[in-house]
């Protein structure tokens, strides 16, 4: 990122697939990441940290969906439901068995992965947009089940309050503490995804995405790998769900409904399909865009509207701007924010000697 290669000297596939182009890159990336993680909680106030925390949770969920949609090419409109599976699994473990977070978080992920496997079964026969609608069905069925099965939902209110995660007996309550807590899982998720997509499984995913029949012919068991993709993607979603309920202090299925699934879809597509950096950008973009447009409109809205109209018009204007920006990015840069970032970087890489 901050250094320039003097040429391409790779002589083996292993070198070509390495995470870092140069040995020194490993250290610069680690240094910057460490600096970022350490400085952010000191530099920002509580409100800014709460925004960052919302983004961090979204990053985990978006990475998961990207594995399924961006790398394997299977559209899913059920991310929100998988998050709720994770959230309720963890909530029940916490409330009934008093489990600590380092058990509940993987458990929530595993349970979501199991349900994801089930939902992935139709992908044996169904493809493309038909499959997308089948996952929409999963979303509705999971919502219904949680709402009606009281031993999952903990009563007619379908919400379970859970205490903050505690480390060595101390509950993590401050936004900065939660930030570090979330960051740990975000780093795990990023590193995990980076390595997954370079592995045999990841390459199989990409082959299926590019042309599933061709993939089958060269000997990839596409059904098995599609199921893997569903399970891994749901695992991430489940973890994101647990993290969100830890952050909010409650598991409630109404916070994981269809609009959430669509938001995640937007994150992955706007960020850039099949790009890890893209998922991160997308998660930040979709989470912060409504908030930033609100700041802007609060700032300049007074010029266009009378005060009484302001409260009523601004939220709708925000909706229009949000939708328009989605369309704008799709039209201008179909490969997403990740591509935009690459373009900017390669522009500066040769700068000032670009032609």
């Amino acid at each position: 990122m901050f250094h320039r290669e003097a040429g391409v000297f790779k002589t083996s596939y292993a070198a070509d697939m390495a995470l870092y182009p140069l040995p020194i890159a490993k250290w610069t990336v680690a240094a910057f990441a460490g600096l970022f993680i350490a400085v952010v909680p000191l530099a920002f106030g509580e409100y800014a940290l709460s925004l960052i925390n919302l983004c961090l949770i979204a990053v985990v969920g978006a990475l998961g969906l990207n594995i399924l949609l961006g790398y394997t090419g299977q559209i899913s409109i059920g991310q929100g439901a998988f998050m709720s599976v994770g959230a309720y699994t963890a909530a029940n473990l916490i409330v009934h068995l008093g489990m600590p977070f380092w058990i509940t978080i993987p458990a929530g992920g595993l349970m979501a992965a199991l349900i994801g496997l089930l939902v992935g079964i139709p992908s044996l026969r169904i493809k493309g947009i038909y499959l997308a609608i089948a996952t929409l069905a999963a979303q509705l069925i999971i919502e219904w089940t949680i709402n009606h099965v009281t031993w999952i939902s903990g009563g007619v209110q379908a919400s379970i309050e859970i205490p903050r995660p505690s480390l060595f007996g101390h509950p993590i309550t401050s936004e900065a503490g939660i930030y570090l807590f979330l960051m740990f899982f975000v780093v795990l998720a990023i590193v995990g995804t980076l390595n997954l997509v370079r592995s045999r499984i990841g390459r199989a995913f990409i082959a299926i995405r590019d042309q599933d029949i061709a993939a089958e012919i060269i000997g990839i068991n596409i059904f098995r790998y599609k199921l893997y993709a569903f399970a891994i993607s749901s695992f991430y979603a489940g973890i994101a769900g647990v993290l969100e309920s830890y952050y909010l202090g409650i598991a409630n299925y109404e916070q994981f409904q269809l609009d959430v699934s669509i938001d995640y879809l937007a994150m992955v597509i706007i960020g850039g399909l099949g790009s890890i950096l893209g998922s991160i950008f997308g998660a930040i973009f979709v989470t912060l865009l409504p908030i930033v447009t609100r700041w802007v409109l609060d700032g300049v809205g007074g010029l266009f509207f009378t005060e009484a109209n302001l409260d009523n018009s601004v939220p709708h204007l925000r909706l229009v701007i949000f939708g328009s920006l989605i369309i704008f990015f799709l039209v201008v840069e179909p490969d997403g924010l990740a591509r935009l970032w690459r373009n900017i970087r390669s522009y500066f890489r040769a700068w000032p000697f670009s032609y």
């Binding site: 139709p122 009606h148 269809l258 879809l265 597509i269 939708g323 328009s324 369309i327 799709l330 039209v331």
Partner: protein, 299 residues
């Protein structure tokens, strides 16, 4: 526990048929776009809502009579269809399906915000010039608004079937959907037919918006009818107008019977997801829906 009664079942069945035809009315717009342009329109519900807003808004704000506001809604939606195709969809031609899907999701947000900005937020009624009292046939009662919706739906089924089978424009549209490149090589103006397809979808959505608006009242929640379209079109097959109507009928009947005979046993509303369960079952047997065309895939 409720017992089985023939008379009540008959009532539920007719009710399901009427509702199913109303669903079909919205689904046809969706199918038209897919058939001609291969695009999935996630903003179909918002199209319907926007049409309802125009119709109800014209009546409430300008005091137009029903027929004039209905005409205005139809004209407005056709113009919207043309405009959207030009600004949003045309730059996305040739892009992956998912990009188009996302663009229509963005479009849905714009229409939601825009409709309220333009017409205000409160619930409005659309006063159709038909009686409020239902027609009675023995135990069966049919609401007149629903009858109008069902009638329009059937008329469109016939009209579009003829259109795609016999008319020159319809055949050209099918050719475009089949393969854009071959169609272009044969001298068909692909862009024009894309625009036409969106305008036609706007037209059908306008009628859907008027009928559904008259039934539910017009506010931003009207867009939720769009969610009902998915099981209908997937069950019938995404590219079949007949499939949309048959799918609509099946979903309508299943929903009605589910409410009458499943809900009392499970203690909750199963109407929303039973259609989806049925849909998945059908897809496992026929992955392209009942009337969908099987695509031949090649490496």
């Amino acid at each position: 526990m409720p017992e089985f009664e023939w008379q009540f079942t008959l009532v539920l069945l007719t009710n399901g048929i009427m509702i199913g035809l109303m669903y079909a009315l919205i689904a046809i717009g969706f199918v038209l776009i897919y058939k001609a342009t291969d695009a999935i329109n996630f903003a179909q519900g918002e199209f319907v809502m926007f049409a309802g807003f125009i119709c109800a808004g014209a009546a409430a704000l300008a005091g137009f009579p029903f027929w004039l506001s209905a005409l205005l809604a139809i004209a407005g939606m056709i113009a919207l269809g043309f405009g959207l195709e030009r600004i949003v969809l045309r730059p996305l031609i040739g892009r992956p399906v998912i990009a188009v899907v996302m663009a229509t999701i963005g479009l849905a947000q714009v229409l939601r915000g825009g409709a309220v900005l333009a017409f205000g937020a409160g619930t409005r009624a659309i006063e159709m010039p038909v009686g409020g009292t239902p027609l009675t046939f023995g135990p069966v009662m049919l609401s007149q608004v629903q009858l109008v919706g069902a009638g329009v739906s059937l008329v469109f089924l016939a009209a579009f079937s003829w259109f795609f089978l016999k008319s020159r424009v319809g055949v050209a549209m099918r050719a475009v959907a089949d393969s854009q490149q071959v169609a272009m090589a044969m001298g068909i103006n692909v862009r024009r037919y894309f625009a036409l397809a969106w305008a036609m979808a706007g037209f059908v959505s306008a009628l859907g918006g008027i009928v559904w608006g008259a039934m539910l009242g017009v506010d931003n929640q009207l867009a939720q009818v769009g969610l009902k379209v998915f099981p209908v079109v997937i069950l019938g097959g995404l590219d079949s107008v007949l499939g949309a109507v048959v799918g609509g009928l099946i979903i309508g009947i299943v929903e009605s019977l589910a409410a009458g005979y499943i809900d009392p046993f499970v203690g909750g509303g199963t109407k929303d997801f039973t259609p989806y369960v049925l849909m998945i079952a059908v897809l496992m047997v026929r992955p392209e829906g009942m009337f969908g065309r099987r695509r031949i895939e090649r490496v």
